[in-house]
C-alpha cells in the first residue's frame, strides 16, 4: 500500500453530531496517518451545501482523491461529474448516493436497513411467542438512517403479530431527547408496565432511555428490553451492568476499506466492488461487553 504514501486526500465529513461520528473522524485520520496520506479534512456542519463546497474546494486544490460521507443521498450528480472531469476518484463513506455509479469509485457503507432488520430479528427471537409492545426512538426526522433503520426494523417484525410498535417518536439521535421521549412513553404506557421493549435508532438514545427506565423504578434489560444500533462504548458499559440487551455494530472504520480500494485502483486500475458493505454485527451481553468496551474506549467515541 505504499502507493498511497504522500498522496493528498480530501475528506468531507458531515459534522460532529454524535460520538460515533467523532469516532469515524478520528479513525479516518488514524488510517490516513498509517498510510502516510495527507488528509484534508473539512467539517460540513450537517449541511450538504458545505459538502459540495468542500468537494469543489478539493477539486480546485487538485487533491489526489476525495472521500465524502454524504449527509443526504440526492444532489451529488453535478459535483461528482466535476470531480470526474478533473479525474479525481471519489469514494463514498457511510451511505450511498442517488447518482450514476460511474461517478464514484466505490461506496463503503453499512446496510442501514439491514441494521434495523438485525435489531428487529434479535427482538423477535428474544420475545418468542409472548405479546410484546415495542416503543421506538427514532433518529432525526427525515434523516436517512432514521428512515432506513425504521424500515428494517418494521420488516423484521412483519408477520409477528405478537410484536407491535406501540409508540414511535423522534429522539433526535441525542441522549437527552432519548431520555425525555422515553419518560413520556413510560407515562403514556401505564407507568412503563405495558412496554416490553425499546428500540432506539442509536445507542445514545438508548443510554438516555435506560436512565428514564431506571428513574421510573423499572429495570432496563429485564423489565424493558433495550435494543439499539451503533455499538458505542457506553452501550457496552450498560450491557456490563445488565441494562442493555443488544446492539448492532456500525463500524467507524469506513476509511480503512476505502483506502484499500483506492490503493488497489491506483496500483493497477482494478475497479473495486461498487458497494463495499461493512458488517452489521449483533452484540449481546454474551459477547464479552467489557472487552468490547475496553477496545473501543480509545477510538474517540
Amino acid at each position: 500500500q505504499d502507493n498511497l504514501n504522500g498522496l493528498t486526500v480530501g475528506f468531507s465529513q458531515i459534522g460532529s453530531e454524535s460520538g460515533w461520528r467523532a469516532a469515524e473522524t478520528s479513525v479516518t485520520k488514524q488510517q490516513a496517518e498509517e498510510r502516510g496520506i495527507d488528509l484534508k479534512f473539512a467539517d460540513a456542519q450537517q449541511k450538504q451545501e458545505n459538502q459540495i463546497k468542500a468537494i469543489r474546494g478539493f477539486i480546485a486544490q487538485g487533491v489526489d482523491a476525495i472521500m465524502v460521507a454524504p449527509v443526504v443521498a440526492t444532489g451529488w450528480d453535478d459535483v461528482l461529474t466535476e470531480a470526474k472531469e478533473a479525474e479525481i476518484p471519489v469514494i463514498l463513506l457511510d451511505r450511498g448516493v442517488d447518482a450514476p455509479e460511474d461517478l464514484y469509485l466505490t461506496s463503503v457503507a453499512s446496510d442501514q436497513i439491514k441494521e434495523g432488520r438485525v435489531a428487529g430479528q434479535w427482538l423477535v427471537d428474544a420475545v418468542g411467542d409472548a405479546d410484546c409492545k415495542v416503543v421506538e426512538l427514532q433518529g432525526t426526522v427525515g434523516s436517512t438512517p432514521a428512515i432506513n433503520r425504521k424500515q428494517g426494523f418494521e420488516e423484521a417484525l412483519a408477520g409477528h403479530d405478537n410484536l407491535t410498535i406501540a409508540r414511535s417518536q423522534t429522539g433526535d439521535f441525542t441522549r437527552s431527547k432519548g431520555k425525555e421521549v422515553m419518560e413520556g412513553f413510560i407515562k403514556a404506557e401505564n407507568g412503563g408496565a405495558d412496554i416490553c421493549a425499546v428500540y432506539a435508532h442509536n445507542d445514545d438514545m438508548a443510554v438516555g432511555a435506560i436512565q428514564a427506565i431506571k428513574d421510573a423504578g423499572l429495570k432496563p434489560g429485564t423489565d424493558i428490553k433495550v435494543v439499539s444500533i451503533d455499538a458505542v462504548p457506553d452501550i457496552f458499559a450498560a450491557m456490563v451492568a445488565g441494562e442493555a440487551n443488544a446492539t448492532v455494530e456500525l463500524t467507524p472504520n469506513m476509511a480503512g476499506p476505502a483506502f484499500d480500494a483506492l490503493s488497489a485502483y491506483l496500483a493497477d486500475g482494478t475497479a473495486p466492488e461498487k458497494f463495499i458493505i461493512t458488517e452489521s454485527k449483533l452484540y449481546t451481553p454474551a459477547d464479552n461487553p467489557q472487552g468490547e468496551y475496553d477496545t473501543r474506549k480509545g477510538l474517540g467515541y
Binding site: A22, F41, K53, Q61, D78
Partner: protein, 325 residues
Amino acid sequence: MKRSLRPLAATAVIFIIAYALSVVQFPNMLSTRVLGNFLTDNAFLGIAAVGMTFVIISGGIDLSVGSVIGFTGVLIAVLINWLGFHPLAAFVIALGVAGLFGAAMGFIIHYLQVPAFIVTLAGMFLARGGASVITQDSVPIHHDFYDTLGDLMIRLPGGGRLSFIGMLMIVVFLGGALLAHRTKFGSYVYALGGNPVSASLMGVPVAQTTVLIYMLSSMLAALAGIVFSLYTSAGYPLAAVGVELDAISAVVIGGTLLTGGYGFVLGTFVGVMLLGLVQTYIIFDGTLSSWWTKIVIGVLLFLFIVLQRIIFAASAPGGKSSEKA
C-alpha cells in the same frame, strides 16, 4: 451619501485583503475555478441574503428563510416528480406559495404587533414542519429542463465555470440594489427602519410596505430554494438548516445595521463572498478539526465585526449621536 458609502468600501477592502492573504498561502485560490465556485456555491445564500437585507434594513428579521428554502425544494420536487408539473410551473407555484407565506407573516407582524423575531420563528417551524409532512425522504428531481439549466454555464479559462445560478445571484443582487436605492419602495424600507412612527406620519404606507418586505424575503428565499434544488437536483426537508444565521451574518458583515435604517444590498454581496472565502480557506487548509472550524469561524466573525466598528466609528461623526442611544 458619499460618507455613508464608506463602510461598504471598507468591507470590500477587507475582502480583497483577506483574499490576497489567502492567495499568498494557497496560490490555487486565485483560479477561475475558485472564483466561479464562490458564485455558484453561494448563490442560494446570496439570493436569500438579499431578502434578508431588506428585512433587516426595515428593522425586522426573518428567521424562516432556511426553512422556506427547504420547503420550496420539497414542494418543487414533489410537483415535478410525483405530480408531473413542468419545472417552470412548479417554480411559479413555489414562488406564489412563498409569497403568501411571507405576506401572512408581514400581516401578523404589522397588524397584531407581534415581534418579527417570534413570527418568523413560528414561520420557521411551520415551513420546516410542512416540508417533513410532505415527505421525509430526499426526493431527486429528474427533468430535462433541470439538466438544461444545469448545463447553462460559461466555461472560464482555467477550468472555472460561471454557472446559471451564479449569474442569477448576480442579477438578483443588482435588482435588489436597484430596488433598495432607486425606488420608492426602497426608500420606504429605509424609512421604516429609521423610525416607523415618523415614517407613518410622513405618509409611508407602513402596513403595505411591511407585508411587501416579508413577501419579498420569502419569495427570494423561495428563489433561493429553487436555486438550491438546481444545485442539488433534489428536494430535501432538512436542506438549508440554519441558513438564516448565515444570511444574517452576511448582511451584518456587509455593513447593514441590525437596528435598521442603514445598509447596502451590495454590501451583503461582499458579506456573502467573505463567508465563502472563510469556508474555502478552511477547506484549503484542511487541518482544522470539526471544533476548530467552528471556533475559527466565530473568531473571524468577531474580527470582521470589530474591524467594521472601528471603521464605522472613524467614518461617521454624524451618526455618533444616534449610535449612542
